[in-house]
């Protein structure tokens, strides 16, 4: 098992290094003076405010510092939590801007991923054994999983938000309120959270339901299921075993889908102007704030790697085959 985790950690570490390197290399090797280019793209009018910014970027991208030192500086700054200064929201540091947005994105991602996974698995398993549910839930699931995340968001925003007026369609909370620890504020948070959450939940749900249904059908035909049936085991028992066995590939599937789910959350936030990372990224693009973009990129990478690691741990705990040190999951 140590080998298993060792390999996984090595891959994640390597991926992180690749990501950080990409982040540093791309602007660095564009033609021309990268620092000058970035600074002239901004609309910062305050000359002395540019100075601290300039010194950071001189260290990281500047021409008078040797290349390898620049790369090293970038890492040093990274570990000190310094991702640069935002151009658009000057003089706020990038890290601060991002950290303000992350809770909103997590509030969307975590519940929608977990609930859609759980509900999708349950419904998929049910559909595998009830024909009427299979004939209704399956086409619906296919339609849902084929739906682009932002379009469902648009539809929900328009139908339930604007036309029916039940839910708000912009912001993380009502514009009149100030953040505080009150029920009113919390209620407003939930109200604004619900539609984007629902949108993410529905699309993801479709995929899990289809996957689980197919896996259960496959498991129910496996030798162990046939043997138990031949020994007179009730269908309840066989289904229980099949469900548990089918969950394992669904856990790895979760890791594989992380990228897609994160992308979905980002575009959904844009549709609802929800103040998370997605909304931030959109504005960074529109305002040409590249440092903010780079910071957001790193954050997403760290988040995805961390989630992958958690899923790996969960998988090892759940699949007995990995624990015995035998081949198990790749």
């Amino acid at each position: 098992m140590r080998r298993y985790f060792g390999r996984k950690l090595a891959i994640y570490a390597l991926t992180f290094v690749v990501a950080v390197t990409l982040n540093w290399i791309i602007p660095r090797f564009m033609p021309g003076d990268p620092v000058l280019r970035m600074l002239t793209r901004t609309s910062v009018s305050n000359p002395e405010a540019i100075a601290p910014m300039r010194s950071y970027y001189e260290n990281v991208f500047g021409l008078d510092v040797p290349l390898w030192k620049q790369y090293l500086n970038y890492w040093v700054e990274l570990f000190q939590g310094n991702l640069g200064v935002s151009v658009w929201l000057f003089p706020a540091p990038v890290a601060d801007v991002i950290l303000r947005a992350v809770p909103y994105t997590l509030a969307l991602l975590l519940p929608s991923i977990l609930l859609s996974w759980w509900a999708g698995n349950k419904v998929g398993a049910l559909a595998a054994r009830r024909r009427w549910l299979d004939n209704t839930a399956l086409p619906v699931s296919y339609a849902l999983t084929a739906t682009p995340y932002m379009w469902l968001g648009i539809l929900l925003a328009w139908s339930l938000g604007i036309v029916a007026g039940i839910f708000p369609v912009a912001g993380g909370y009502s514009f009149e309120l100030r953040p505080d620890w009150s029920w009113v504020f919390f209620g407003s948070l939930v109200q604004h959270w619900f539609l984007p959450f629902l949108s993410l939940f529905l699309v993801a749900f479709g995929g899990w339901a289809i996957g689980m249904r197919n896996l259960i059908i496959y498991e129910l035909e496996a030798d162990y299921a046939n043997y138990l049936a031949a020994l007179g085991a009730p269908r309840r028992l066989i289904r229980r075993y099949a469900f548990r066995n089918a969950l394992l590939p669904q856990i790895t599937g979760l890791a594989l889908q992380l990228g897609v789910l994160v992308a979905g959350a980002l575009v959904t936030e844009i549709v609802f102007a929800y103040p998370g990372l997605g909304h931030l990224i959109l504005q960074a693009i529109q305002n040409q704030d590249f440092f903010l973009l780079q910071g957001a990129f790193l954050f997403i990478v760290i988040g995805v790697l961390g989630a992958n690691f958690v899923i790996d741990i969960v998988y090892v705990l759940v699949d007995p085959r990995t624990r015995t040190g035998m081949q198990g999951a790749t």
């Binding site: 891959i11 994640y12 390597l14 991926t15 690749v18 990501a19 990409l22 982040n23 791309i26 602007p27 564009m30 296919y142 339609a143 999983t145 084929a146 739906t147 682009p148 995340y149 932002m150 379009w151 469902l152 648009i154 539809l155 925003a157 328009w158 938000g161 604007i162 036309v163 369609v169 594989l256 992380l258 990228g259 994160v262 992308a263 979905g264 980002l266 575009v267 844009i270 549709v271 997605g278 990224i281 959109l282 693009i285 529109q286 590249f290 973009l293 780079q294 957001a296 990129f297 997403i300 990478v301 995805v304 790697l305 992958n308 790749t330």
Partner: protein
């Protein structure tokens, strides 16, 4: 044992069940495919959209971004899908958008298929150090969130055309294909006919191409369909964020504009409903076709 065939007693009826020759297998596949409702249905939908995308722009008199009609007009006889807030013809945009959708799907899906299959075959066939290295690369690309990387790439390098967008999408969508192809190659590699080919001196690439790939052809085809769908969805996502090719018209860009110009609040549903509906329909048809093809290629499923 050839002489024993003579030993049939006279007047005995011939064997009741002839054995189907291997040659007829492809024809049999087509026969089943043509009868499978899911395959046919999915194909019809896709071809209909393709026809729309290819033919419709030929018959329109104005371009997708020209200001031709009254602004924000609902669908009418003149403008089937109404107009945008600027008076652009939504239907023309739609038809052109479908073109880019298919283009990015084919190119992006094709590139991802090519990379994934090559990496998978080589890793599965060679094994050893090559396999380890390719595995590492596969895992890294797998874990790296594609959207995030594309954001950075676009910010600095810029994505200007649809083929370029397709290339970037293809470069990130292949890991799962590589894994699956590698696993299948492992199992096929150990079979006798491959050993035979190797013994007869065939070069590895030829073996992969002539002995292994045909056995997986059905799987590869289905993989391409899934990659096509995935490409379409990813392109729409990129376009929606504003990371898409700026000069081309695309369905994602339409939705981006619609949201940006308050179409939701103004109730201009004809602007944002058709693009997403088209993507859902195309990708959905692809998935359904895939399920049908699985039944066609896997006889056991047929009987269910």
């Amino acid at each position: 044992m050839t002489d024993t065939e003579r030993m049939e007693a006279p007047g005995v009826p011939a064997l009741a069940e002839p054995v189907a020759p291997l040659v007829g297998r492809r024809r049999e596949t087509l026969h089943f495919a043509a009868r499978n409702k899911k395959v046919v249905g999915g194909l019809v939908v896709i071809l209909a959209f393709l026809a729309l995308g290819v033919l419709a722009p030929l018959f329109t008199t104005h371009g997708p971004n020209e200001y031709v009609g009254p602004p924000a007009a609902p669908p009418s006889a003149d403008y089937w899908f109404g107009t945008t807030t600027f008076g652009q013809d939504v239907f023309v945009q739609f038809a052109n958008g479908i073109r880019s959708t298919f283009l990015v799907g084919v190119l992006g899906g094709g590139l991802a298929a090519l990379i994934g299959m090559t990496v998978g075959f080589v890793a599965g066939y060679r094994g050893g150090l090559v396999d380890e290295l390719l595995n590492m690369v596969t895992n890294i690309v797998l874990v790296l969130p594609a959207l995030a990387v594309l954001i950075i790439l676009h910010a600095y390098v810029g994505i200007t055309s649809v083929p370029m967008q397709a290339m970037f999408i293809g470069l990130f969508s292949w890991p799962w294909v590589a894994r699956a192809v590698r696993a299948q190659t492992f199992s096929i590699r150990s079979r006798e006919f491959v050993d035979l080919a190797r013994l007869s001196g065939m070069r590895p690439l030829a073996i992969i191409r002539r002995e292994i790939a045909p056995n997986m052809s059905s799987y590869l085809f289905m993989t391409f369909i899934l990659l096509f769908g995935g490409s379409v969805l990813m392109a729409a996502t990129l376009d929606f964020i504003g990371l898409g090719p700026t000069e081309a018209v695309s369905l994602g860009l339409m939705m981006n504009s619609a949201v940006h110009w308050s179409a939701l609040h103004l109730g201009l549903w004809w602007w944002f409903v058709p693009p997403g509906a088209a993507i859902t329909a195309i990708v959905g048809a692809l998935y359904v076709m895939n399920v049908g093809l699985d039944e066609v290629f896997n006889p056991k499923l047929r009987e269910m």
